[in-house]
Amino acid sequence: MREHPKSRHHTGLATHLWRAVLAVFGVAVLSACSGEQNALDPAGPYAQAPHDLILIVIGIAAVVLVFVQGLIIFSVVKFRTRKDDDGSLPKQVHGNTRLEILWTIIPAVILAVIAAPTVQLVFETMDEPDEEFMTVHVIGHRWWFEYYYPDYDIYTANEFAIPAGTPVRLEMRSGDPGRAQDQAVIHSFWVPRLAGKQDMLPNHTTYLNIEADEPGRYIGQCAEYCGLSHANMRARVEALSAADFASWVESQQAAAVLPAAGTPEGQGRELFHDLGDRKACASCHQVWEGDGQRRAAVGPDLTHLMSRQEFLGAIEDLDEATLRQWLQDPDSLKPMQYESNGIGMPNLNLTEGELDALVAYLLTLR
């Protein structure tokens, strides 16, 4: 089990309300920290506005809930058959038109009241941001998110950086018809503290606005069932200050540094491009060395692999030992369907020597 030292100790109003609601039903309510992937702890305007609206609705719902359950409990206690009952029947009441009208109109009015801000907010959250915004393309694959910055020509995977305090409009789709291996299925991008989820579908482009008020790392995951490793498809948003973001962009735009020939790293680079009769890494992954256009590849772009904290759909911390295990036996870390369905990372049956060289090379990709 992995530890998450960064889990925040933050309890929102809604959490309190929900605990109160649940307490009514005797559900054990425990005070504990809320996780990072917490929809009740918004960290930007696109999560905040729906959150504020739902708090009002939760409040109304709680009142209705207490009222109805109160009526039920009251009826049960008050109108139980008593021990000294004479066996006669109660008064036979068949209905009451005035009451019927009352409990038709009152709920309708309540709903009309919450309907208006709901509709308004639908448009507000879906329309293009009014201020200046940045666009990032998000492409869902089985089972990882790919990100592309059209303004900067940067490809990255699993985690991506945004400037804090600036709206970012995600332009999203699933798969890529050009990639035979990765038949597109539906995914859903969800980083709850920044915004609600938005599905990514083949043959449709969908949009999602996100914005982080403060720098920080925001976590999320794919929220539309997408097959075998659906649970292992996580998303990470690194919100940076304007200066940090600028230097991040600069480092990501750079080409990979070529290792010296003859060193283990250089040997690893050769293996990356040629594994004999086995599939070469480069047939699916890109390490851009400065010539030609950067392009989308089948697997994650590895040009600046080691600039990322996590990998494998962001389920594992990126370090030498894990990287080595991954190359040796991918299925032991993340279930794949390469053999049966051509999806994911194959087991390349690397020798110890090849492993050493490849890992050494990958570690140079900063």
Partner: protein, 637 residues
């Protein structure tokens, strides 16, 4: 009546007891009982699947099952509970009760009724056989393409299994609609029908109009998977949204298909348990019909996070909010049925009150889903899982279990144990809330559905809520064992119930318990809503009820109908023989094997000709055209 030809159809079964009698029965009561026990078996399977899901999620990063198996288990859990448990359990009640409640001797098409049951059984077996034939469907019960058209998803079993179950439900829907419209006892006008019959009528109309839509979606899915059609293939321009629209155009009415029968059951039990008539009968009936009607206009609220624009999202959000209005009407009428009554807390009454209470919670979280901008936070998380379990478990299942306790004496002539029943209720209530209550929280704290592991990064709170859910599951499992024990014990040695153990209101209790083969020795003439109650009690203008002294129940009818010819459908092999043909056809479609398909098609045709050639009842073949001499004899010509 032209009954001249009395020649017996050769080889026709006639047994009323024993194994053959069950295989060949056309008696709606026996068919209802068969539905019930088959449901118990599938409920066990679906429950075990849920158990593995809960085990896997009891701790973060736990791996009890491989992801492949986990995905198969949660998919089959959903399919099982929806199509093989809740729907057919409602069908068990339709079968047993509709003819009795409307004062009829059977359904309109008794052999078609048997056929519906056999198709249900074979459809279920076909689905479950997938575990032994290369793996069960693993693409979730909604089966969204393009994921589901991948051969590795094993969805051809889903497509064929659901198509067979669809035929079963469609035949049943036609049957019950015609039965209710055409076979009511004299005087049983629409506004005198028990609410359960009303809700059954609405439900079966929903089935009638929703099933063809899922059938279209399934055929397209199957054509893509097996024949290489391009309906949902992104490469040639296929649109995955189309499937979702079709699926939910069926899927949302399906929700009401599952809940309305339970609402009907509760509307029968609450008045009996409160010793008062149902508050606002007309309002409850019309609210039910309104729910059924609006239920066809809200499907896209399952799709708020897909590629739908803000206009569609807003429109479906609004309609969804307003379906809460008729639902609220029902809840208030149920509460006011109890108001001012003298409540008797028998087990069926407890489950009915539990239904109203739990369903209210599910209804309110449903309104929260309609808040479209925040739906994007709730959608496909455990918050949704909590919501629909409050509606379908806390709602539908509580109502249906209430019905089991309530009508058990009707079927067996014995009472179920009240002490065990109460133990069942309280453990069930606690276990249910412990299982699904915390899911509201874990969902809002970021736990998505359908993940084969509980991610550790969600934090210790989410992990704790999941552990609580798993503990709740164990309580539910133990509670289900109490119920099973009670059921078996009561069938064997329950105390005799007499004919009217609850001081009930509706026609089914007017005849003997257990119900005699002919249902009613003579068909009653109905003059009131709650006819049976009005034969036992008189009510003055002030609403005070006085017991009518004489056991006035049936005697006067016997006099008027003394010469009535009781005319019951005979048993038949043909529904079973014909429906067996669906097995080779089904596997032929799953494995795209033309030989199996051919054999099956021939089998179906032969079965059908045997069926057509055999009269419903002996000597029944040459009925004069246009007469209403139904088997029920409800209308004398």
């Amino acid at each position: 009546m032209a009954t001249a030809e009395k020649t017996r159809y050769s080889g026709r079964p006639s047994a009323q007891t024993g194994f053959t009698a069950w295989l060949t029965t056309t008696d709606h009561k026996k068919i209802g009982v068969m539905y019930f026990f088959t449901v118990l078996a599938f409920f066990f399977f679906g429950g075990v699947e849920a158990g593995f899901v809960r085990w896997q999620l009891s701790q973060a990063e736990l791996s009890v099952l491989s992801p492949e198996m986990y995905n198969q288990f949660f998919t089959m859990h959903g399919i099982t509970m929806v199509f093989l448990v809740v729907m057919p359990l409602s069908a068990a009640f339709f079968n047993y009760l509709i003819p009795l409640m409307i004062g009829s001797r059977d359904v309109a098409f008794p052999r078609l009724n048997a056929y519906s049951y056999w198709l249900y059984l074979f459809g279920g077996i076909l689905l479950y056989s997938s575990f032994f034939l290369g793996g069960a469907p693993n693409s979730s019960w909604v089966a969204y393409p393009p994921l589901s058209t991948d051969a590795i998803a094993n969805m051809s079993f889903y497509v064929v299994g659901l198509a067979v179950l669809g035929v079963s439900s469609l035949a049943a829907a036609v049957n019950f609609i015609v039965t209710i419209l055409n076979m009511r006892a004299p005087g049983m006008t629409f506004m005198r029908m028990p609410v359960f019959v009303w809700m059954s009528l609405v439900t079966n109309f929903l089935l009638l109009f929703a099933l063809p839509i899922i059938t279209v979606a399934l055929f397209m899915l199957g054509a893509d998977t097996v024949l290489g059609a391009q309906f949902f293939e992104p490469a040639t321009g296929g649109d995955p949204m189309l499937y979702q629209h079709l699926f939910w155009l069926f899927g949302h009415p399906e929700v009401y298909i599952m809940i309305l029968p339970a609402m009907g059951i509760v509307s029968e039990i609450l008045p009996v348990g409160s010793r008062k008539p149902l508050f606002g009968y007309a309002a409850v009936v019309f609210a039910g019909a309104a729910i059924g009607f609006i239920g066809f206009g809200v499907w896209a609220h399952h799709m708020f996070t897909t590629a739908m624009g803000p206009v569609a999202r807003s429109a479906f959000g609004l309609v969804t909010m307003f379906i809460a209005v008729p639902t609220g009407i029902k809840i208030f009428n149920w509460v006011f049925t109890m108001w001012g009554g003298k409540l008797r807390f028998t087990t069926p009454m407890l489950f009915s009150i539990g239904f109203v209470s739990m369903f209210t919670i599910g209804g309110l979280s449903g309104v929260m889903h309609a808040i479209v901008p925040h739906n994007a936070q709730q959608h496909d998380t455990y918050f949704v899982v909590a919501h629909f379990h409050y509606v379908l478990f806390g709602g539908a299942l509580f109502g249906l279990i209430a019905g089991i306790y309530y009508w058990f004496p009707k079927v067996t002539g014995k009472m179920m144990s009240e002490s065990l029943g109460k133990m069942h209720f309280w453990t069930w209530l606690v276990g249910f809330n412990l299982t699904f209550g915390p899911m509201h929280m874990s969902g809002l704290l970021g736990q998505p559905r359908r993940t084969a592991v509980l991610p550790g990064e969600l934090g210790s709170t989410v992990e704790l809520y999941n552990l609580l859910s798993t503990v709740g599951y164990l309580i539910l499992f133990a509670s289900a064992l109490v119920f099973l024990f009670n059921l078996i014990k009561s069938i064997k040695s329950g105390t005799p119930s007499g004919n009217d153990p609850w001081d009930a209101r509706t026609l089914e209790w007017m005849t003997d318990s257990p119900t005699p083969h002919v249902n009613f020795y003579s068909i009653p003439t109905v003059t009131h809503r709650d006819e049976f109650w009005h034969r036992k009690y008189a009510e003055d203008d002030a609403g005070q009820a006085i017991k009518v002294p004489a056991g006035a129940a049936e005697e006067h009818d016997v006099a008027t109908h003394a010469d009535e010819h009781i005319h019951m459908p005979d048993p038949s092999y043909w529904p079973l023989v014909h429906s067996l043909g669906y097995i080779p056809v089904g596997y032929g479609m799953v494995f795209a094997n033309p030989w199996l398909l051919g054999v099956g098609a021939l089998w179906l045709v032969i079965g059908l000709y045997g069926w057509i050639n055999e009269p419903v009842a002996e000597g029944d073949d040459d009925e004069p055209v246009g007469s209403e001499t139904s088997h029920a004899g409800s209308v004398t010509s």
